[in-house]
Amino acid sequence: MDLQLTQEQRRLLILIHTYTAPRDDGSQVWLKDLPLRALMYDGIVKKVFDWDYSPTSVFVHGIRRFINISQEGEHDLIELREAGLVDKLRITATEHVPSKAYRSSVEGAAVVADFPEEDRKTIIDLISCLRCESAREVRVTSSEAFYFCKDCESTEHIGLFNIEDVAYVARPYLPRVLGVGSTGGES
């Protein structure tokens, strides 16, 4: 397979693969949509991914929230899926809004082995516990996201919900609206 993956795409695939490598007992593991987004955001902040992010309104556990999402990251994820390196699962969530989950495909798992060691190390550093160096879980509630280390029970905040303010000056604008009140009645 002739694959021309960018550094960001390679690292994203490693990230997904690290969490979703098949288990010995044959059970399949998937990385949920929101934790993946939290990891992508944290990766941008920690210079692992050279993407931008912006506030976007999404459903978080059934509630509309603004979170920081990278459109370039989304694009790279789509490209990995188009290349058949990442599988996507759509699941019905208990929060009434369908959610998604991802894992590295068989092809994806095969190509990860050939990626440069530096990319692998960067991702391992991102997800490793600062205290005990174990691989950490990512947990996302309806209002916060954080790494959780099962071994030493330490946590690290991820600013997925921190919407940044910009200074701006605006003056009012009222567009013309056609036919208001021309017809219709009272409900």
Binding site: D52, A167, V169, P172, V177, G181, T183
Partner: protein, 596 residues
């Protein structure tokens, strides 16, 4: 919080204007009440707004937080629309001067519009990176601003549809700019360059169409917004207002659909719980009935919304007809004509109408399901009541039997006391007479046996009387526990009560719900000098829904130096001191009980 990432700004818009549109069920009466509320017809037509709630009390002044919104009326047509300028002063971590125009009309369309003059001290050319953050800020701040102007019905609807978190509800975003840079030959070229497409997606998400309108004019359509580039944007305003209204309606409809889906899930869970409920579990049936009542309320609100949506669709269709007629008469600019064909408004109107009817049908099904489960819960409730009555009757019979048995035991014990007194009397006299060896007593006994017998009986009666007189006060004292109860039905401060209760260790915590009441029962113990060293148990009932403090019960098992009125008065004083009850409640009690 300021930007922590180094932004790679690639796409810029010149002199951008932002329109954020949402749909909230409205109507002509609501517009009329809004016009009255904003005093649109008065000479001085600006007002300040705050989120602080005014609560009825005796104070002649009102203390608020900072004033957050200033509104200035621009135009209105009673019962049709209202247009005003709003300047907001919400606390932010950076300097923002937010002043936007607001258009609200009876169809439920609300358009917030602003011209972006400066972002991060940069004028004229603004990057999409910055604008995505400005848009998020506007979407949030407009929710806060409009909240003070909504009716109770509208707020209930928003709470229902947006899962009790309406502040972050999504709205449709339109950005109008005079120019877009870097320039490309065709708008479609922006979508072939990955980084540029990513920038555009940041604001309008999943851009799927990029087309030219006329020379130097382009439009980008995304799933959550639209970007229009035109040096003469005003000619597109009417089309955009119609399209934005329709898209806002679509967003609301999608959220309603998600809510109805969630209600089906809740319904299924409630049915399962109701079917599995044990006949002895009265609390569970009460919870199911409470949940069903809430669902009925939510379904009614959604049903009402659908009717408002139908009216809105009719009004938007009328706007669409007018635009089509103008287009047919060729009195619109070619760019406008092109935009109309790209936006596919006619089909979207039809589709939205179909979906509204579809949700209506789902709602009818859900309402039937709620009625079915309600009947099931009520049947189980009745069965539980029957069981309860049977158990109660059994208990009454058992208690009667126990009471009779206890009475028999009491008579037997009294008889035993009598016999014991006789036996003791005989023993005493026998000891005194030395078993008839004492010459004085034996001679009296032998010479006057009747007198001796009389003396014996007299001693017996005396001793029995002493026994009864000793035991009766002890029994009386045991029966004398003080139990004072007063029905207050007085207003109370729920926050103060919660804080008061948090300092006590609860013995009993119960609650009962129905449609109109949410009654809590709490009980705790107290002791101390305030209670004259008595061990006291206090029980209170209060209703959070009606805001009334219902009952106060004070129990003292072994009261000392305290009567019923004292007990109630001490308990009331504690609650008044903690600001739970008003002082007039205590005054009223004192007046009625004759205490000062």
């Amino acid at each position: 919080m300021e930007i922590i990432d180094e932004l790679e700004e690639l796409v810029f818009l010149e002199n951008p204007r932002i329109l954020v549109t949402e749909w909230i069920p409205c109507g002509r009466n609501q517009i009329l009440s809004l016009t009255d509320g904003l005093e649109a017809v008065k000479e001085v037509n600006d007002s300040l707004y705050t989120t602080t709630m005014d609560v009825p009390n005796r104070l002649h002044t009102l203390v608020t937080g900072p004033v957050l919104t200033k509104l200035q009326m621009q135009d209105h047509d009673p019962a049709s629309y209202i247009r005003f300028h709003a300047k907001v002063f919400y606390p932010e971590t950076v300097h923002q001067v937010e002043e936007f125009g607001v258009h609200v009309d009876w169809t439920g369309r609300i358009i917030y519009g602003l011209i972006l003059e400066q972002v991060e001290k940069r004028k004229k050319r603004q990057s999409l990176d910055h604008m995505s953050r400005v848009v998020a800020d506007i979407v949030l701040d407009t929710s806060t601003m409009i909240e003070t102007m909504l009716s109770v019905f509208q707020r209930d609807v928003l709470d229902t549809v947006f899962f009790e978190n309406p502040n972050e509800r999504n709205k449709f975003v339109t950005i109008i700019a005079e120019r877009m840079t870097p320039k490309r030959k065709s708008p479609a070229d922006y979508l072939t360059e990955r980084r540029l497409k990513g920038e555009i997606n940041q604001v309008i998400e999943n851009v799927h169409k990029a087309e030219s309108l006329s020379d130097g004019e382009a439009v980008f359509l995304g799933t959550k917004g639209i970007i229009l580039v035109s040096p003469e944007p005003t000619r597109y305003e009417e089309v955009l207002s119609l399209f934005n209204g329709l898209q806002a309606l679509d967003i609301f409809q999608r959220n309603i659909h998600a809510r109805v889906g969630a209600l089906w899930d809740e319904m299924r869970e409630t049915r399962r719980l109701t079917e599995d409920v044990s006949e002895l579990d009265i609390q569970r049936v009460s919870e199911a009935q409470h949940s069903l009542s809430q669902m009925t309320d939510q379904l009614l609100a959604i049903g009402e919304c659908l009717r408002y949506m139908e009216d809105a669709l009719e009004a938007l269709s009328s706007e669409w007809r007018e635009l089509r007629e103008r287009r047919a008469a060729e009195i619109v600019h070619p760019g406008v004509s092109r935009l109309l064909s790209l936006l596919d408004i006619g089909n979207t109107l039809d589709l939205t109408g179909h979906r509204t009817r579809g949700i209506g049908r789902t709602l009818v099904g859900l309402q039937k399901e709620v009625s079915g489960v309600k009947e099931l819960a009520s049947t189980i409730g009745e069965r539980q009541m029957r069981h309860l009555n049977e158990n109660l009757q059994e208990n009454i019979v058992q208690m009667e039997t126990m009471s009779r048995s206890s009475q028999r035991t009491s008579v037997a014990i009294n008889m035993l006391q009598l016999i014991l007194a006789g036996s003791l009397a005989f023993d005493i006299l026998k000891t005194l007479s030395g078993d008839y060896e004492n010459t004085v007593f034996s001679s009296v006994a032998s010479e006057n046996p009747v007198a001796w017998l009389g003396l014996t009986v007299l001693v017996w009666v005396g001793l029995a009387s002493i026994f009864f007189n000793i035991i009766r006060p002890i029994e009386k004292r045991r029966e004398k526990g003080l139990h004072a109860r007063v029905k207050l039905n007085a207003p109370y401060d729920n926050d103060a009560l919660k804080s008061f209760l948090s300092t006590r260790e609860m013995l009993v915590q119960e609650s009962t719900w129905d449609l109109h009441h949410h009654v809590f029962r709490r009980s705790w113990s107290e002791r101390g000098e305030g209670w004259r060293n008595n061990e006291v148990t206090i029980q209170i009932d209060y209703d959070e829904l009606t805001g009334l403090f219902r009952d106060l019960v004070v129990s003292i098992p072994a009261p000392q130096y305290i009567d019923e009125n004292d007990a109630i008065q001490i308990a009331l004083l504690d609650l008044v001191t903690a600001d739970v009850l008003e002082h007039r409640t205590l005054d009223a009690f004192r007046e009625l009980s004759g205490h000062e």
